[in-house]
């Protein structure tokens, strides 16, 4: 890309919004990823894709705002998982159940209402270069919420994610905290979908958290490192995509993936 076109591209409002979205998600979503790994709900993204789809379908059918429906339904789905958080068998079973039921319900709703299914599926092909102000604000609000939850509950969070019984025995209100976390994670993932698309959510969420886990020795260390990796990955990926003039999404995923690979190698040597 020539210097002139580069300057022109960087002057576009959509690109400004994309950069803002990258920075915000770069800082906050890795923390969500830490929560996701800690709660053992790595399938959260799939589940929320399906639940969000159901939300959009319901929105299209009823005439309510589809995005709002999707976010609300995801929050409800997150909360509905909370009672399972304290069980020994973990959350993966209930997650699969939720996910399959949600997609079935979405298809039923779409079929009954007779709306065009393609409109609903658009949600999954979000793009950073099509970010509207509304989505950006929603993600920014969630980013603040995520960071506030981390800062406000650092000690109980470290215990809860380490071991639920130890947390219980240390006076942590396990049910309340797990509900808060699950709702936040569900809504954050749902809100990030239209920004990044389904594929990229994992790259900005799980990969930095996984990278951090390879190196961190404490909970705080893991959160801090994940944020660094998220920011670095998003920034480097963005610059590379601009310079080589290739689609942003895949380049971001590859950058984050390369970092994770690197931490895995470094982490094993230590």
């Amino acid at each position: 890309m020539s210097a002139d076109t580069l300057a022109a591209v960087l002057g576009l409002a959509v690109v400004h919004r994309a950069i803002a979205a990258l920075l915000i998600t770069g800082v906050a979503m890795p923390v969500v990823g830490v929560f996701i790994i800690g709660l053992d709900v790595v399938t959260m993204r799939f589940a929320m894709m399906h639940v969000a789809l159901l939300g959009v379908a319901v929105g299209l059918m009823t005439g309510f705002d589809p995005t709002a429906c999707a976010v609300l339904l995801c929050a409800a789905a997150g909360a509905s998982l909370a009672p399972f958080a304290g069980r020994r068998d973990g959350l993966s079973g209930p997650m699969v159940m939720l996910m399959t039921m949600a997609i079935a319900a979405a298809l039923l709703v779409l079929s009954i209402s007779g709306v065009n299914a393609a409109g609903a599926f658009e949600l999954l092909w979000g793009s950073l270069l099509a970010v509207g102000m509304r989505e950006l604000v929603l993600v920014a609000v969630l980013a603040v919420a995520v960071l506030a939850i981390y800062l406000g509950f650092r000690r109980p969070l470290a215990l809860l994610l380490f071991d639920i019984e130890l947390a219980r025995c240390s006076g942590v209100r396990v049910e309340a905290l797990a509900t808060l976390l699950l709702v936040t994670v569900a809504v954050a993932v749902a809100a990030a979908l239209p920004l990044t698309g389904a594929l990229l959510v994992d790259a900005v969420t799980l990969l930095p958290a996984l990278s951090a886990r390879n190196l961190a020795r404490s909970f705080d260390g893991m959160v801090g490192l994940s944020m660094v990796f998220g920011l670095v990955g998003n920034s480097v990926g963005f610059v590379i995509a601009l310079l080589v003039d290739l689609p942003l999404g895949p380049i971001l995923v590859l950058t984050a993936g390369a970092i994770t690979l690197l931490t895995f190698v470094v982490g094993r040597k230590r």
Binding site: R155, L159, F162, E165, L166, R168, R213, F219, M222
Partner: protein, 240 residues
């Protein structure tokens, strides 16, 4: 009943290299009475705890012995509400916990040394574990006594089995200092070396509070006021 003099207890708990601050928390310790009545816990068709009644007086030390799978851990976990009960009463310090708030209070009154210490999916340092006791100074003091204080910055999943057990013991003593009145110790010496067993048996004996300890360690059982034996979910008193 043998009641250890508080001064002696403090010396034992803090070791020779006693930090003066240690005496403070240990002087404030006291026991609470536990009464279990008609308690049953089931796992599906299996009755792991079967109509158990037992009493630990305030300040009394009681050992729970018995074959593997006889229900000792299940009983201790039921006292903490980590294990559901199908019937029965578990009254500690006059309260049978039913509401979440009461269980929270119960868990604070009854610190626990788990038989299987969690190493967790997540990094947590020794320091953070000791801190979770609610009384860092006491926990660190006992960790020093047990030789694991130097590991403070080490993540728990990198510790050896015995080191991990020592850390959880130190944490439980810290929790005793933070308002604990009945220590529930589940095989506290199982992973320890010979010296460690002696030290921990001595620490337990010195604790001026109620203790209910499930153990296969004769040295620990011998230092308790009473020994109860569990078999097939039932409890009977034995002479050692």
């Amino acid at each position: 009943m043998f009641v250890p003099p508080v001064a002696g207890a403090c010396a034992e708990l803090s070791g020779e290299s006693a930090a003066p601050a240690l005496a403070d928390w240990c002087a404030g310790l006291r026991g609470a009475a536990l009464t279990i009545d008609g308690l049953s816990c089931r796992f599906g068709g299996l009755v792991a705890v079967d109509d158990v009644g037992l009493q630990v007086e305030a300040g009394e030390h009681v050992a729970l012995v018995g074959t593997n799978g006889s229900g000792k851990s299940t009983l201790l976990r039921a006292v903490l509400g980590l294990q559901g009960r199908s019937r029965g009463r578990i009254v500690l310090d006059g309260t049978d916990a039913r509401s979440p708030g009461e269980w929270d209070a119960r868990r604070r009154l009854a610190p626990w040394i788990p038989q299987r210490q969690a190493t967790g999916r997540f990094p947590l340092t020794v320091d953070e574990l000791l801190d979770s006791s609610g009384h860092r100074a006491a926990a660190v003091g006992v960790a020093t006594r047990l030789g694991v204080a130097a590991l403070a910055r080490q993540p728990l999943h990198t510790l050896s089995g015995g080191q991990l057990q020592r850390c959880f013991i130190a944490r439980a003593f810290g929790a005793m200092a933070n308002g604990g009145r009945l220590l529930l110790a589940d095989e506290p010496t199982a992973a320890l070396d010979f010296d460690g067993r002696d030290t921990v048996a001595g620490l337990l004996r010195a604790l001026p509070a109620s203790v209910l300890v499930a153990t296969h360690d004769r040295a620990v059982a011998a230092r308790c006021d009473r020994v109860l034996e569990m078999a097939n979910g039932r409890v009977r008193e034995v002479r050692m």
